[in-house]
């Protein structure tokens, strides 16, 4: 199945992409997706925050086809 993935701020610059469509296996979690991304891109990134369909999720959250997944650093607004 496919999910769309967004990156923001310093992570967006590190990955060099804003959005991409990624194939994942049935049963994949947001964390397994994250692991495969940093392995493929060969990058290191601490304290990543994860959202699915614009809601924060835990790393063990299971993905569904068509999900919008977002990875980003700690937020610094306000």
């Amino acid at each position: 199945m496919q999910v769309s993935v967004k990156y923001f701020a310093s992570l967006r610059e590190l990955i060099g992409e804003t959005t991409s469509i990624i194939h994942v296996e049935e049963g994949a979690t947001v964390n397994s997706l994250w692991r495969s991304i940093i392995e493929t891109k060969n990058v290191k990134f601490d304290n990543v925050m994860m959202a699915v369909n614009m809601e924060y999720v835990k790393s063990e959250h299971q993905l569904k086809s068509g999900d919008e997944v977002a990875f980003f650093p700690p937020v610094t607004g306000g």
Binding site: A9, S10, A51, M54, F72, V75, T76, G77, G78
Partner: protein, 145 residues
């Protein structure tokens, strides 16, 4: 209740007055608490000349609306206004505005501060500062309590 992300600079006090004028709560509220966050020309002893604020279109608005709605319920507020800048920000400009209207001051004070803390810790915004030491993504917010 109004939550807005603004690309252009705004005047916090004109915005509060404009929003208040659109409400029909005169005589009902006894207490208004406002917080305005503005851009400083320094951060951790570095000179800052400019800032860019990135957000996550869709999620940021949704997240702030949830914070506002939950605060209205928790503190029985009469109204809430949240404005937040994105894009290019100059020194001295306002970045964030939170206003809460309540019958009593305890609820106004507590809700305004709690909204700011929730916004700071959870709303998807990211600051990149142009400093004397180069362009730097702000890594984390300072604690608020």
């Amino acid at each position: 209740m109004l939550v807005e992300i603004r690309k252009k600079s705004f005047n916090a006090y004109a915005e509060i007055q404009y929003y208040l004028d659109s409400l029909d709560i005169a005589g009902k509220y006894g207490a208004t608490s406002n917080f305005v966050g503005s851009m400083r020309d320094f951060n951790k002893n570095k000179k800052v000349t400019h800032m860019t604020l990135e957000h996550y279109p869709g999620m940021t608005e949704k997240h702030l609306e949830t914070i506002a709605k939950e605060s209205i319920e928790k503190w029985k507020l009469l109204d809430v206004l949240i404005l937040h800048r994105i894009g290019n920000i100059n020194v001295g400009e306002d970045i964030v505005l939170v206003a809460t209207w309540s019958s009593h001051r305890k609820d106004a004070f507590e809700s305004c501060r709690a909204i700011m803390e929730q916004l700071k810790s959870g709303a998807p915004f990211w600051k990149k500062e142009e400093t004397s030491a180069g362009d730097i993504w702000v890594e984390k917010n300072t604690p608020g309590y």
